[in-house]
């Protein structure tokens, strides 16, 4: 079962290592990890997506809370949150498939952010599922490189 952990940590060197080391040592899985500063520059926010059973999920939360550099842990399901992932995809294009790529981008709200003679970079910022669908839709095109930000998430403003 997927679970999202929104972890507020002290914004100082070594903290990322301590938190990711905890997952490694305790054999917890990390599906994705995204880190950035919050409104308070002394505090960073880590969004960790992990898959595991109830017992593992409970342990992840408890072990995170035990870390002295961890200020707060919020945990929720995907449906309780708004989630986004940024994906940059560099593809090879030809005169024949150019139109097809542009159509796919326009359907999925993706943008072409860089272009050369035979390559272009597409950006999609969407829910992890839609980003995945987009990737599958352009699967027939030659993909050169992909980079993904990992999921970032905040709980929904309205409950239920």
């Amino acid at each position: 079962m997927k679970r999202i952990y929104n972890v507020l940590v002290k914004n100082q060197s070594g903290v990322l290592c301590k938190v990711s080391g905890l997952f490694w040592r305790r054999c917890f899985n990390i599906d994705s990890l995204a880190v950035g500063e919050t409104e308070d520059n002394a505090v960073s926010n880590m969004t960790i997506v992990s898959t595991g059973d109830d017992h593992t999920q409970e342990q992840i939360e408890k072990q995170l809370n035990k870390k002295i550099d961890v200020i707060k842990v919020k945990t929720f399901d995907e449906k309780e949150a708004v989630c986004r992932e940024l994906m940059l995809i560099k593809v090879k294009y030809t005169r024949e498939n150019r139109r097809d790529i542009i159509d796919n981008c326009s359907v999925m709200n993706a943008t072409i952010i860089d272009m050369g003679n035979n390559m272009m970079t597409i950006q999609i910022c969407d829910t992890p599922e839609r980003a995945q669908i987009f990737l599958e839709n352009i699967n027939h095109i030659r993909i050169v490189e992909i980079t993904r930000s990992g999921t970032v998430a905040l709980t929904k403003c309205k409950e239920g």
């Binding site: 070594g14 290592c17 080391g21 409970e58 408890k62 072990q63 809370n65 035990k66 002295i68 200020i71």
Partner: protein, 543 residues
């Protein structure tokens, strides 16, 4: 004042009496400053033992044990000691010298990323980047080490920062750590639930772990058990919570424990698991422990609760506070029948043990269980018994009589060579106490260099080496699991212990005859002097 002066001043502010360690260039500013302070230093013969000695010191005093070693190999050598302290939740502050901070990361001479290497063995770690941070960091380090679930804290201290000038020294009076606030007081609603269940229980049992000692709760738990007539068992780390001869005490649990202790665990309808982490050696099938019983798990570390066994009633808090709160209630469950059943089980076991006592003992050896029993029986009431790791440890756990004294061993990490340095640390902290280390000949050879430290600082620890010339517990494992295909367990070539004792100016005794046991033990324990006792046992003895 420089950074090194500041850290030494902080240690004085924390009332540190002893620093165990080993200097090297990268920690020299610290060792220079400490000459001006009212803090005694003890030069161990291996950095690992500095941490073990500090562990013995911390366990007996309840204070933080302090270690200071140099960078690189000094720091990596101390890691096993840190990991041992972490596994047993022992409060230490370990200061490691580090290379010049401007050179860190460039693999210069004697550089080791000790904070990275130790990450999973420390409760917290610091690298000091500015000398002015020293007071805050040391204050926090001592606080973190000795509160909540206790444990070692590492302070990595680059040499240039040790030499960096500090304009104003101010030791903080309070701690501001919003992200670290251990829960001490148990939740009142949960305590009510426990009381309600306890009143109904027909077969309640308290199982104490190392947390009982760490929170200083042993007396409170003892009083609680006495008043409410609830039987007590212990894990290896919890031994000594109750005097072993107390009628309400039913032994150690686990795969190395007493059968009657395990029967008590199985048959109880309610267990108060107090400061025990349900480790594999204590509870063989943790997921079954909650079957058919109310399992109350009391621990200061919320992450321990539910980690290995799912409790019916989780109760986060310091044991001392929790048992004081529980004791306010008039519980007194009807336990006489249950106590009689347990006493019956114990009697059965004791009779079986007596029957074994009549068996023939190999000539030229003694029965190790007799030896441990007789030794601990003859020790002073409040003596400290430090068991090493291996068969000697299991024989000790099962046969050591603990009255008002303490029983130390490393139950978590099982680190061979712990006993002698830990005993040394304990003796240093309280010279009036009798301190006895019991180890095997494998463990002894991992720490025997500390006889030099004992001699130098006049620390009269008594050491009994159970000698069988093999790595006994591994041999025993190979006997049962590999059908006597013994592999790499032979300790032939071990030194003559009489010569070793002579080399270090120690008295030596040799016991290889049951008839001379009492006399030899008497001589071993007489006078407050270091004695090395060799006790020969048959390598075929199993624990």
């Amino acid at each position: 004042m420089n950074g090194a002066d500041a850290i030494v001043k902080c240690l004085e502010m924390e009332n540190v009496e002893y620093v165990f360690g080993y200097p090297g260039v990268a920690i020299c500013p610290f060792y220079d400053s400490i000459l001006n302070a009212n803090i005694k230093t003890i030069l161990v013969r291996h950095e690992q033992h500095a941490a073990h000695a500090a562990s013995g010191y911390a366990r007996l005093t309840g204070k933080v044990g302090v270690v200071a070693v140099t960078s690189g190999p000094g720091a990596t050598n101390v890691i096993t000691g840190i990991a041992t302290a972490y596994a047993d939740s022992i409060p230490l502050v370990v200061i490691t010298g580090q290379v010049d901070s401007r050179l860190m990361g460039s693999d210069v001479f004697q550089e080791a990323d000790v904070s990275g290497a130790c990450e999973s063995f420390v409760k917290y770690s610091y690298i000091i980047r500015k000398a002015e941070d020293v007071p805050r960091i040391v204050k926090e380090a001592f606080y973190i080490a000795n509160t909540g679930r206790k444990g070692p804290v590492l302070i990595d201290f680059p040499i240039d920062i040790q030499n960096q000038k500090i304009n104003k020294f101010e030791y903080p009076e309070s701690i501001e750590m919003p992200s670290y606030k251990p829960t001490v007081k148990g939740n009142a609603k949960q305590i009510d639930k426990v009381v309600r269940e306890l009143k109904k229980a027909k077969r309640p049992l308290i199982c104490t772990g190392g947390g009982a000692h760490l929170s200083g709760a042993a007396d409170v738990i003892r009083q609680f058990a006495d008043k409410h007539r609830i039987p007590v068992v212990s894990t290896m780390m919890g031994l000594g919570t109750m005097p072993t001869e107390h009628p309400l005490f039913f032994g150690m649990v686990g795969n190395n424990g007493q059968a009657y202790g395990n029967r008590a665990m199985n048959q109880a309808d309610m267990i108060l698991l107090a400061g025990a982490r349900v480790a594999d050696r204590s509870i063989a099938r943790p997921n079954e422990i909650e079957d058919n019983k109310v399992l109350v798990h009391i621990d200061v570390d919320p992450a321990e609760i539910g980690k290995n066994a799912g409790p019916s009633i989780p109760l986060v808090g310091d044991l001392k506070h929790v048992f004081e709160d529980l004791d306010k209630e008039d519980i007194r469950p009807a336990t006489e029948e249950w106590l009689a059943t347990l006493a019956g089980y114990r009697k059965e076991a004791e009779e079986a043990k007596k029957a074994k006592a009549d068996l023939v003992i190999t000539p030229g050896t003694v029965d190790p269980t007799h030896f441990i029993h007789a030794l601990s029986d003859a020790m002073q009431k409040n003596a400290v018994y430090v068991a090493d790791v291996g068969q000697n440890q299991l024989w000790s756990c099962a046969n050591c009589i603990i009255r008002e004294g303490r029983f130390f061993t490393t139950g978590g990490m099982g680190c061979m060579g712990y006993s002698v340095p830990a005993a040394m640390g304990a003796k240093v902290s309280d010279p009036s106490r009798q301190v006895v280390a019991v180890c095997g000949d494998g463990g002894f050879q991992m720490c025997m260099m500390e006889l030099g430290t004992m001699r130098q600082y006049k620390v009269p620890v008594k050491i009994a080496v159970i000698r069988n010339n093999v790595l006994g517990l591994v041999r025993q494992f190979q006997h049962f699991n590999y059908k006597d295909r013994f592999s790499v367990i032979d300790l032939t070539g071990s030194p003559d212990l009489k010569s070793i004792a002579a080399a270090y100016g120690m008295k030596f005794l040799h016991l290889n005859d049951e008839a001379k046991m009492d006399k030899t033990i008497k001589e071993f324990l007489a006078n407050d002097e270091s004695v090395l006792l060799q006790c020969d046992v048959d390598p075929n003895e199993v624990a």
